[in-house]
Every structure is written in C-alpha cells, then in structure tokens.
C-alpha cells in the first residue's frame, strides 16, 4: 500500500501518522505540501490532525480551500481511499467530502483522553479487520469534535451503514449527535473520525487498538 500524508501549515499529527504508517506498512509515506496541486501515485491519502492555518476561521475551513484539496477531491472521486483524522475530519466536512459539521465541544473545552467506541461497520476498507460491534479505545484530543448533521442526514448515515465508530454509552467526549465518532462517504472510500488511531499502534503508548485500521487498509489496498 502506497500512502501520502498531507501537510498543511500547523498540521501537527503529520509525523505521528507517518510513523504509524511506516511502522505498519514498512514503507515511508509521501509527505505532500498543501500548495502542491498534484498527488503522487498512492492508494491512501491521510489528512492528519492539527490546527491547519491556525483554525482561526472554522476548523478546517481554510484547508478545504487549499490547492492540494482539489487533488484530494479528485483522488476521492476516482474511488481512492481518504482517511481524515481529527483536524483531517474537519477538513473533510468543510470540503463536503463528508456530510455534517464539527462544532465546538459541548462543554466548550479541549479534551484529551482515551475513549471507548464500538466498531459499527466492518464492510469497508478501513475497519474490515475489526469484529462487528467490537469495543476499541482510541485517544481523542480536540476542541471541536461535536458532530452535527440534520435529522435527515443522520437517518441516512445510519440507514446506509455509514456510521463506522460510535462512542460507547457515557463516553461521548464532545456532545456529538447520536454518539457518532466516525463516518464514511457515500462510496465508502472516505472515512473521517475524531479519535486518533495513529496514537494507538504501540503497546507502550497505551494500546494497539488502532492497528486494526491500518491492517484493514493494507489488506484492502495492497
């Protein structure tokens, strides 16, 4: 599996994503600068966590307008896999590659903690190595992870099996509608989620629950 990690100004989980990808695939990902208008030939594009452009406008809003995002959209339109983590998820909703929006956390505070989630869907490139209904723990670290969409959109997401990760009961860290932690695009090739799978691939760092996502991608895309 060949991968690329997009680097926006003030992305700050780009290195973490690259380290996890290299550890899991044995290959260094391509690091792609936000001003580049073309992507290298890759199977997976990762939009990493961070504070792209300072997130001084709505989180992810500036990044969604960058040159590289046109190329990322084209990659997604061709059916290429795109994984947006944390700020990357925000960029995906701002780019309309995923529906809905990520608002300020309900308690208005940044939150960093491990959260339990259930894997709700395994019929996709990102989670096929997990068991349906499996409970996993990934850390969250964000101030704007409160997922919102109108009722019609939420019903559609649920109906089409596009809610991939759901916070366990009582674990919702940000007030997200229906405890949604991560969703798929209509074509199921774009995943956005607030928790950080790349921070849980090393047992020394509090768990290996994130490995399943990289293993799924390797199996699907290699």
């Amino acid at each position: 599996m060949k991968s690329a990690v997009i680097v926006f100004p003030a992305s700050n989980c780009d290195r973490d994503a690259a380290v996890a990808l290299e550890q899991m695939t044995g290959k260094k990902p391509n690091m792609v600068w936000h001003q580049d208008s073309e992507l290298p030939d890759v199977d997976l594009v990762v939009l990493p966590g961070g504070f792209s452009y300072g997130d001084y406008l709505r989180c992810g809003a500036m990044a969604s307008q960058s040159a590289v995002m046109r190329a990322v959209k084209a990659h997604a339109d061709r059916g290429g896999a795109v994984l947006g983590i944390c700020n990357g998820f925000q960029v995906l909703t701002e780019s309309h590659l995923l529906p809905g929006a990520l608002m300020r956390n309900a308690n208005l505070k940044f939150v960093c903690r491990p959260v339990s989630m259930t894997v709700e869907e395994t019929q996709n490139a990102f989670t096929r190595k997990y068991a349906n209904g499996q409970e996993v723990s990934f850390p969250v670290a964000h101030g704007d992870g409160n997922y919102y969409a109108d009722e019609e959109t939420l019903n559609r997401l649920e109906g089409e099996g596009r809610v991939v990760f759901r916070y366990a009961e009582g674990q919702n860290p940000n007030g997200s509608s229906r405890n949604i932690a991560g969703i798929l695009s209509e074509k199921r090739n774009v995943l956005g989620l607030m928790p950080h799978p790349e921070r849980v691939v090393d047992p020394l760092l509090g768990g290996t629950d994130g490995r399943g996502m990289f293993e799924s991608l390797i199996e699907t895309l290699s």
Partner: protein
C-alpha cells in the same frame, strides 16, 4: 525631542542613582530611545540585578552538562550524540492581568527559548499557583490559564505532560504561571546566541512588530497595586499558528549551515536580543528600524525597540546566505528582513528615518548593568511539633485529604492539554514524573516540576532543599537517573530585607541539595516583586528536573499491578506532622517545623530504588510526599484499581505514622519472594525500611485496627472536587 525629566526616569523604573550611572556610561544625557533601552535591560527581569551575585553560588557543571546558564536554555548530554535542551520561565504578572494570553505567551516564549537553540520541543510542563478557591477571581484565573496553556501548546503539537497546581491565599493577588519546555537536538546541531564577527547580516524573522507588550519586562519588575488592570495593554497576544510555522522554518534553516547566531525576541524584544547577541559575540550591532516588518503605521523607534510582539527571532547569518534563508521563510509565509549588520565597534547603534536614535556601548547594557548585594535578613525558621487530636478516625481523614483542593485529582486540568501528540508519551500525567520517549530510540526523558511553598515559608533554606530533593526523588521513582534542573525563583520584593533573606536562603538550599545529589542547575529564571499592595507570596522556588532512562520498557509507574504482592516502605518514618497537609486540612493549622531532608540518605536510598527498577525487579513505585504514607498508598490503589491490606506491628501513634511528611521515602511492591530478597539487601545497606502490608484483589483499603474504606468512595472524593469547583459549586473560605 522628548525632555528627560526625573518623573520620566521614575516611570521607567530607574532610580536616581541608576540614571546617574547611565549618564556616566554615555558621558551625556540619554535620548528617549536610549532611556527606554536602559530601562528594560536594567530591569530586574532582564538584568537579575538583585540575584546575580547569589546565583553565582549555584553548581552548574557536570560531565554531562554541555551548556549551563547564560544561553537561552541549558543543554545536557543524553548519549548517542543526542542532547536534551530545557528551561523553565515564569509569566506571572501578565497571567494575572489577562490569564489566557498571559499563560499562552508564557508557553510560546519558553518554547522559543528551546527551539532557538536548535531543539525540537518534545514536552511541556507547568507549575501553577492560584489564590484560595473561595477568592472571587480564582475560578476565572484557573479557567483562563489552563485554556491558555492548552490553546498554545495543543496548536504547537507539543504534548503538555504534567505539572503542579496549588491554591493558597498568598497568591490571591499574584498568581504564578511557570512553564517549562524540554526539547531534543543532535549535539552537533546546537545553536548559540554569540553574534561573532563583523559585517554579517542581522536578519529578522517571524511575525511583524506591533505595539503590544511595550514595557512588559518593566511591568514584571514591579509590584502590583489596585490599578494593575490598567496594565492590560502591556500583555502580549499569542499566535501559536505563527509560532508553529516559525518552529518548522527555523529547524529547516538550522539544517543548513547558514546561521552564525540566533536568539528569540522575548522580554524586551529587539532590544535584548540584539544587545545580548552582540555582547556574547564580543561584537557590535547596527540596526535600521525602517527595515523592521511593522504591523502598525507610524511606529516610533522607542515603540519598536521595546515592543514584545510574539513569535519573532533575530539571527545573524553568514554573508551571502540571505537568499537561501529568505526562501525558507517565504515558504512558511513568514516575514523575513535584513535589518542590520554586525560591527566591530562594540556598540549598539539604532537608526530610524535616517537618524541615529541610539548609540551606546554594548557592555553598558550587560556587564555595566547594576549589581546589588541587597540587605538580607534571615528570619528564624518555624519550629515545634504540633499537637493533634489522636482520636480522629484515619479513613475519614484520608478521604477528606484526597478531596482537598491541593490534593485532589488534577484530571480536570490535564485533560485540556494534548498529552499524547507526538506519540512518544510513555508516562502520562498523574504519576511521579512524566516520561517521553526519545523519538526512534528506547531512551526516555523523565520530567517533573516541584516545590512545596508552605515548607519554604516555614524555612526557606530547608524548603528549597526539599524542592530539589523531591524533583530528584520523582525522577528516581520512575526509574530514571536525575541529570539536571532548571529553577524558577518566584519571590516578593527583593528590596525588603526579609524577602531578600528568603531569596538568599532559597538559593543556598538549592545549591546545597544540587551539589549533594549531583543535580546541577543549567538555567532558570527569577520572578521577583510578586506582591500586591505590599503582600508577598509564599516563597516559591520551583524546580524543573530532567532525568534519563536507558530503556523505557523498564519504567516504574505508581499503580498497583498484581494482588498478593508485598508493600515495602523505604526510608525513615518519624511521623513529622509540622507543615503537613494533615495538619492544614484536618486540624486547620499551618504551623511547626517543615520536614528536614537528609541529603546523604536521600541519595543512598534513591540510588537503591533506581537500581531495583533498572534491573526489572520492581515496576510499581511511588514517592511519599504531600499527605504522607497513607495518601501515597491510596494513590497507588486508585491508579491500579486494586486494594491493599495495611498493617504495621507496634505503632505508637497511627496519625503521624500514616500522615507525617518525613522526606526521602518510597513505597514499592514486589512478590513475597522478591520482597524477602530486597529486605535482605536493604538490611545489608543499612537502609531503614518496613513491609507495611500487601496488595489485594478486593477494591478496598484496609488498615489494621483502624478500619477500611472502599476505593470507590476514595475515587469519588478524589475526582469530584476540581470539576465541581470549576462548575461553580460554593467553596467555603479555608480560614
């Protein structure tokens, strides 16, 4: 031309005598710009004029110290060509006036101190002191400071891995915000600030210069009064986005060999960076202010030289390398301008609109800055062994202590900091020391900040010693070898002999402890005049310590892990209740002698514990500090969600035994057979110790003859206070 009047001199925080000294050094009256430059460079904050004479007594050398005090941060050798660069600095005064921005720019400033030396910041710590919880401003200040630290550090993508939060009424009008940054570099890629050589371009990089923060250093060198609110405009505004770009751009430039010297523009901005670089390089600097990138129109030379706008750096490049450097900064969309040149005149010359507005010898700002041996009076240390009510039930007291503002869980605070970004945090907040892995290796850096201000108030010398010993002990307790410290000396007005006495005794205590523990001071910061309306804070010499472990897989943590293991107490328990948390929280009194530290026993016992961890013989260790033995055991039980059966034969008095704060103690667990072997070795080494009980699967803390309490009850007490308080629950005044 502005007329220099005695009133103007006084407004600049300069005494009549100091002004006379300026005139002698220049052989004339200073210009208005020069007066401004002298005022910041000779401020307490920049010149250390009250403390320099005493700071010289601190031990600063060891074979592993690559750079001691005097640069932007200290540097230690951590093997394999790697270097660790760190420093702690205060941002007290701005944080009291404007907590979010004050704390945020404190974080930004200390990060620049570290990355200006070529290091990538890998961990942040902080030491925070607030007024009593019932004070009407405290919630607002806690909320603002914590979100400011998080707001800046989280955006930078540097994990904030721990720190201290305390409450005391002496900080009601003057909170303390001390931030520490730890970075990593290769030893052959360390950058210093000496602007050596003449004819080299001086370049300005980062944000534009605005009118914010003018005279921040002078503000930080004066007491507060009722009208401090009016000083809000002197607080700088932080932009972590620009700082993140500046960090990446600087590291990219540092990968080339274009830089001769580089320094961040911190307190006193362009003035101190240019003067200090010229001073250290033995050169001169000529600046043309028309070339300085400016945020606002019509800025005067005075404003530009004194602005403390954030996220700016000054560098001296090798001639001819400007274009290469400029390309890097343009890529990161930052300002870049050649604003001057180094000279061989040993003078700082500032030009603006074709006129020379300042022209002064560099040494007048550094070596010739005032140096005071201020009168100091040592107050007699508090003495005595306080009385206590022996009938109070132990388990109820334990629960109350674990719920006290100074003792409860700080989860509400640290969950607002991204402590796992960079994917190397192997010990998260809540343990004895945070541990971050050295990227791509098995090595780990253990980091802690410590001081117990109530001990320092009772006895500034012993209290300062204790702060160093506790930092050393916390690093030891995770299994790391303590290497060096940075100190952040927070005190009141040094012109009062009793305060100066606290400062001198504190420095002596730090020096003696650091010498005995082979734990040199490689940098630091003094924050004086921490007073409001004449009321000083508790003396607070915060110590930031760093240690190294060679294998993070052999790290100890505090949580109980296996049931049926022996609980071993190492160190001598005399039952010292003077100045203890027990006395304050249960008996409602702050009195008595503070617990003394026996530095020889400290070293011997700590070295013993560390060896057990390094050999993989124990992995569960906690030092005994605030609250005493039973609090330490309860914290271990809560962290591991596993109970304990505690029983000690022949106890004369349970309360002092379980809640006394005798120093130099550790609690650890081992299998019964391993515990036997360890006991034999402890006896052989002549180290005082006892087996005080065993871990049990049941989630309860049981104390023989004294009763029991469930972990659930303790956890609720421990976790509830902070979120409840911040949500607005009523808190009765402490006294």
């Amino acid at each position: 031309m502005t007329q220099i009047t005695p009133e103007l001199v006084a407004e600049h925080g300069l005494t009549e005598e100091e002004y006379g000294r300026i005139k002698r050094l220049l052989n004339r009256e200073p210009s208005f710009v020069e007066l401004g430059i002298f005022s910041v460079m000779w401020s307490e904050h920049c010149s250390y004029k009250s403390t320099r004479i005493h700071l010289r007594k601190l031990p600063t050398k060891a074979p592993w110290v690559l750079q001691g005090p005097g640069e932007n941060a200290g540097v230690i050798d951590i093997g394999d060509g790697d270097a660790c660069i760190f420093k702690m600095e205060s941002h007290n005064h701005p944080s009291f006036i404007e907590p979010y921005q004050g704390a945020a720019t404190g974080v930004g400033g200390i990060m620049r101190d570290v990355f200006t030396m070529g290091a990538r910041p890998v961990a942040m710590m902080n030491a925070l002191r607030f007024g009593e919880p019932s004070h009407p401003r405290t919630r607002h200040l806690v909320s603002g400071v914590v979100s400011g630290i998080g707001g800046y550090g989280n955006c930078m993508g540097v994990p904030t891995v721990g720190g201290e939060v305390n409450f005391h009424k002496s900080y009601n009008g003057n909170i303390l915000v001390n931030a520490m940054c730890v970075g990593l570099a290769r030893q052959d890629k360390i950058f210093l600030s000496a602007a050596k050589g003449a004819g080299n371009p001086v370049v300005y990089i980062g944000s534009k210069t605005g009118r914010d923060g003018i005279h921040g250093a002078t503000m930080a060198s004066a007491e507060f009064s009722e009208d401090s609110e009016e000083k809000r405009p002197t607080v700088q505004v932080g932009d972590p986005f620009t700082e993140k770009l500046l960090l990446e751009a600087c590291l990219e430039l540092m990968a080339t060999d274009a830089i001769i010297a580089i320094q961040d523009m911190g307190a006193a901005g362009l003035t101190s960076s240019s003067a200090e670089m010229a001073d250290k390089g033995g050169s001169g600097i000529e600046l043309d202010l028309d070339k300085v990138p400016q945020r606002e129109a019509q800025m005067t030379a005075y404003e530009m030289m004194l602005s403390e706008s954030q996220e700016r750096m000054l560098a001296v490049l090798k001639p001819g390398r400007e274009a290469e450097a400029e390309k890097i900064f343009r890529k990161w969309e930052l300002d870049f301008a050649v604003i001057g040149i180094t000279t061989d005149t040993h003078r700082l010359v500032v030009k603006h609109k074709g006129e020379i507005v300042a022209d002064m010898p560099v040494t007048a700002l550094s070596d010739e800055a005032p140096l005071y041996d201020r009168p100091h009076a040592r107050r007699a240390p508090a003495t005595g062994t306080p009385a206590f009510d022996a009938a109070r039930p132990i388990t109820a007291s334990l629960k109350r202590i674990l719920a006290a503002p100074d003792m409860c869980s700080r989860r509400w605070v640290w969950e607002q900091y991204d402590y796992t970004v960079m994917a190397d945090t192997v010990q998260i907040p809540g343990g004895d020391a945070a541990v971050v892995r050295v990227h791509n290796t098995n090595k780990g850096l253990a980091i802690t900040t410590d001081v117990t201000p109530r001990y320092c108030k009772a006895d500034p010398y012993e209290g300062a010693k204790q702060a160093v010993a506790e930092a050393w002990r916390n690093i030891t307790a995770v299994g790391a070898r303590p290497l060096a410290v940075t100190d952040n000396l927070n005190f009141g007005n040094p012109q009062k002999p009793e305060i100066m006495g606290e400062i001198v005794a504190g420095i002596d205590g730090i020096g003696d402890a650091c010498r005995a523990l082979d734990f040199p001071v490689i940098g630091g910061n003094c924050s004086l005049y921490n007073e409001t309306n004449g009321e000083g804070i508790l003396p607070t010499p915060a110590i930031g310590g760093v240690g190294l472990m060679t294998d993070v897989h052999r790290m100890a943590t505090i949580g109980f892990k296996r049931a049926g293991h022996a609980i071993i107490l190492i160190g001598d328990t005399k039952g010292h209740l003077g100045q203890s948390i027990y006395l304050r929280e249960i008996e409602g009194r702050e009195e008595g002698r503070c617990p003394p530290v026996d530095l020889a026993a400290e070293k011997r016992d700590g070295d013993f514990v560390r060896k057990l961890i390094e050999k993989g013989r124990v992995d569960t260790v906690h030092d005994v500090s605030d609250g005493g033995l039973l609090v330490a055991v309860a914290e271990m039980a809560l962290a591991g969600d596993m109970g304990a059966d505690i029983g000690v034969a022949g106890l004369p008095d349970a309360i002092p035994f379980f809640f006394g704060e005798d120093q130099g103690r550790y609690v650890l667990t081992a299998s019964p057979e391993e515990a036997d072997r360890i006991e034999g070795e402890l006896r052989h080494a002549g180290i005082v110790h006892a087996i005080i009980g065993k871990t049990i699967a049941e989630k309860v803390l049981r104390v023989e003859r004294e009763g029991e309490i469930s972990l659930a009850a303790l956890r609720t007490a421990h976790e509830s206070w902070f979120p409840g308080y911040m949500a607005g629950e009523e808190i009765p005044p402490t006294n």
